[in-house]
């Protein structure tokens, strides 16, 4: 008896495997292109996000590249802002912010990133568009792939792969343009000169783009991309995602004009498979939400165009949450605990970054106390401590700096050199001797503060806490 139940369960468990096709890239997926709402959204987002990525390095600001990750100079220029490695904690916050925004968006509306923003899927979209221009629609492409080698085939394929490779190289160059002055960079490339790094760095990008986008395509999403998997588990029953409304659609079947009775028993899905044909990852959305779905919505466009033709209501495939599909009330995102938690974390990360950006000071001070010896007895009985001040000027102009010492009653400060000018973008080391009468010191060590400020702009300042040491009393 119990064995029967077990067998039945097993059978159910494996019943899915009959239609469950694991796409390992044996057959190239040639997705059909049809126009529609999501097709347009995809193009608009691609243009709005990726065109700037290629163009931004050409923006100049105050005579320099506006956005430049200056690795040799060890700083990040962002318009007027210069971020030094000391502020790298903000980068950590920024990366966490990106990650959490992706989590939040995914739990609300599924893999929006995969469908519309991901470099891989957008580039695959562009590459297949080029492919279609050169080789024709999917049917022609499949035929060409299967055709024997001929001059015509070689010509088309060579042209295609040349364009793909060039796009790969251009991708690499565009990446590099964020790390080196873009006009210098083009100069180097045209004169075949420049640092070897800019030549070497092109390779992984060109090869990666060529292999990943021209050949692997959806295989990257299936088997390589960790984000795809992470995002996959961020969605739940409340997440709105492209979903096939099986209640309306099943049982699916072709329309038979003669027998009106059969038609009534069938659902709205006419089993035309256009939703599969347009899918860039080659999945069948009618099997439900699955790992291969990048939620690009192109199947919605496809299905709607068919529903229009057969005069049935649209949105058989639509953005809907599983909960709503099953007939429950949809829970809006602002009523969902995890979404609110995400937003709370995002808010705190944002405020951390904003606080960091506001409090960045172009002048920074570090003090190193001389410890050998801890203090020096002078011939007049005074005690002398020696410090090395490291004054960093992160701004673009030289700064004349005034140094003060606080926390001691009768301290005399001697600086070497006595007049301090910190050059733009440089660190200046200054030796400071502090002398204090012995009777002014209470204990073995006294809290002392060094303060530096820009002589022309008193608001530009920094201070550092240290101690003044003396003999035991």
């Amino acid at each position: 008896m119990s064995e029967n139940i077990k067998e039945q369960e097993l059978a159910e468990l494996y019943s899915e495997s009959e239609y469950w096709h694991v796409n390992l890239g044996e057959t190239t997926i040639h997705a059909k292109r049809i126009s529609g709402k999501f097709r347009n959204i995809k193009w608009i987002i691609a243009a709005a996000v990726y065109l700037p990525c290629f163009l931004v390095p050409y923006i100049r600001w105050e005579g320099k590249q506006a956005i430049l990750l200056d690795i040799p100079g060890r700083k990040f220029n962002f318009f007027s802002l210069h971020i030094w490695p000391q502020e790298v904690w903000m980068l950590a916050l920024l990366l966490m912010l990106f990650f959490l925004v992706m989590h939040a968006v995914t739990s609300v509306a599924g893999r929006v990133f995969c469908g519309y923003f991901c470099w891989q899927t957008v580039w695959v979209d562009v590459f297949t568009w080029i492919e279609e221009k050169l080789e024709g629609p999917p049917v022609a492409r499949v035929k060409l792939d299967a055709a024997p080698l001929s001059f015509h085939k070689v010509k088309i394929k060579a042209a295609k792969h040349t364009i793909f490779l060039l796009l790969g190289v251009f991708t690499g160059i565009s990446f590099i343009s964020y790390f080196i002055d873009v006009y210098d960079m083009w100069g180097y490339y045209f004169t075949l000169s420049g640092p070897k790094e800019i030549w070497i760095t092109i390779l992984p990008f060109a090869i990666g783009t060529y292999l990943g986008v021209a050949f692997m395509r959806e295989q990257i999403c299936f088997w390589l991309c960790p984000y795809a998997r992470i995002q996959g588990v961020m969605s739940d029953a409340d997440t709105i995602m492209p979903t096939y409304n099986f209640k309306r659609g099943e049982p699916r079947g072709k329309i038979k004009r003669e027998s009106g009775d059969d038609e009534k028993k069938l659902g709205d899905c006419i089993d035309c498979s256009l939703c599969v044909a347009v899918c860039p990852t080659g999945i069948d959305i009618r099997h439900g939400q699955q790992e291969g779905c990048i939620t690009c919505g192109l199947c919605i466009d496809a299905c709607n165009s068919i529903m229009e033709k057969v005069d049935r209501p649209k949105e058989l495939i639509t953005y809907i949450s599983l909960r709503e599909l099953l007939g429950h009330r949809h829970r809006p995102f602002y009523k969902r605990g995890r979404v609110l938690l995400y937003f709370a974390i995002i808010l705190s990360l944002c405020s951390g970054i904003v606080w960091g950006l506001i409090t960045i000071t172009p002048l920074s001070l570090t003090v190193i106390r001389e410890r050998q010896p801890l203090f020096v007895m002078l011939s007049n009985g005074d005690i002398q401590n020696k410090y090395t001040l490291k004054i960093l000027n992160k701004s673009n102009s030289d700064i004349d700096v005034a140094v003060k010492v606080r926390g001691l009653r009768g301290a005399v400060l001697e600086l070497r050199p006595s007049k301090i000018t910190v050059p733009a973008g440089k660190l200046k080391k200054v030796t400071a001797f502090v002398r204090e009468h012995r009777e002014n010191i209470d204990g073995k060590s006294t809290l002392t503060y060094f303060k530096v400020e820009n002589m022309k702009n008193k608001k530009m300042r920094d201070s550092y806490k240290t101690v003044f040491m003396g003999p035991k009393r």
């Binding site: 044996e26 410890r371 050998q372 007895m377 002078l378 011939s379 007049n380």
Partner: protein, 288 residues
């Protein structure tokens, strides 16, 4: 994963069988073979390009002629090329000129770190803090022989040997007590009159302290006699310590005497090395 072989038996077996486990003739995965051949190619190239084959008297040199020592020497050449202009100027300029040039003195300080550690630090401490009672402090403003840069060069090059006679036999106990009190009072800013007579040699003991240490007790750098009127003690500032110094002297011919001898470095070190050290010592804090 796509390489799962649906018909493993197709290729046949080698005839080897152990306990029913047969060795099949299926080919090794292509990616594996590709990396295998690539690593053989790598090996051959490496053998040709780099020193790798042991011979009877040494090893093959390799086409690139690379060795670790050569790379090290190239690196050192690079460093020396950067240092060369500074070294040249240090050689040319006199020590006062080096001191006036901030950049050059920074170079002198940085490049004399090892020199200082080898030759000075054993006695004077790694930071010039001295060794209490034995070796003078270099970081304070009190100088036995003078804190001018030229004097420091002289001190390093020629060495110093302090001298002070012991007064064990010439002073009575009363005179001794008085002069110790006087010396203590000098640095405290007060004045112990009975001791002054002993100090000036006006008593029977004929101490003649003032002859070397000066009437005001401030010492004379020409003799290297210590300043008795400041807050810094060369040997020991306690009552017993002062008494000991007066009794047994410095570098005298008795076992209890104070020792104060600095070796001459003029023969050991090059003139430019001494210049660098002098600049470093001068800038430790007390240079005059």
């Amino acid at each position: 994963m796509s390489d799962i072989n649906e018909t493993p038996d197709e290729a046949g077996d080698t005839g080897h069988e152990w306990d029913g486990i047969r060795e099949l003739k299926n080919p090794i995965p292509r990616w594996w073979m590709v990396s295998f051949y690539a690593s053989i190619l790598w090996l051959v190239l490496y053998l040709i390009l780099y020193p790798s084959i042991p011979l009877i008297t040494g090893n093959s040199e390799g086409l690139l002629g690379w060795t670790q020592v050569k790379e090290y020497k190239d690196g050192m050449k690079e460093v020396e090329a950067i240092r060369a202009p500074f070294e040249k100027r240090i050689k040319e300029l006199d020590v006062g000129g080096i001191l006036k040039d901030t950049e050059l003195s920074q170079f002198a300080i940085a490049s004399s770190k090892v020199l200082f550690g080898d030759h000075c630090a054993p006695c004077h401490g790694s930071g010039g803090q001295g060794t209490s009672g034995l070796y003078p402090v270099l970081v304070d403003d009190d100088w036995l022989y003078g804190g001018k840069i030229e004097t420091i060069v002289e001190t390093i090059a020629e060495g110093r040997e302090g001298s002070m006679p012991g007064h064990k036999d010439s002073l009575s106990q009363k005179e001794l007590d008085d002069v110790v009190k006087f010396v203590q009072s000098l640095s405290a800013g007060s004045f112990y009159a009975p001791g002054k007579k002993v100090y000036l040699g006006e008593t029977a003991g004929e101490a003649e302290c003032a002859g070397c240490h000066g009437e005001d007790g401030k010492g004379l750098t020409d003799f290297g006699s210590a300043n008795l009127a400041d807050g810094i003690w060369r040997f020991d500032g306690t009552q017993e310590g002062i008494m000991h110094t007066i009794l047994y002297g410095v570098n005298e011919d008795n076992p209890d005497t104070r020792k104060a001898k600095m070796p001459a470095f003029g023969e050991k070190l090059m003139p430019e090395q001494i210049k660098k050290l002098a600049v470093k010592v001068h800038l430790l804090g007390g240079g005059q």
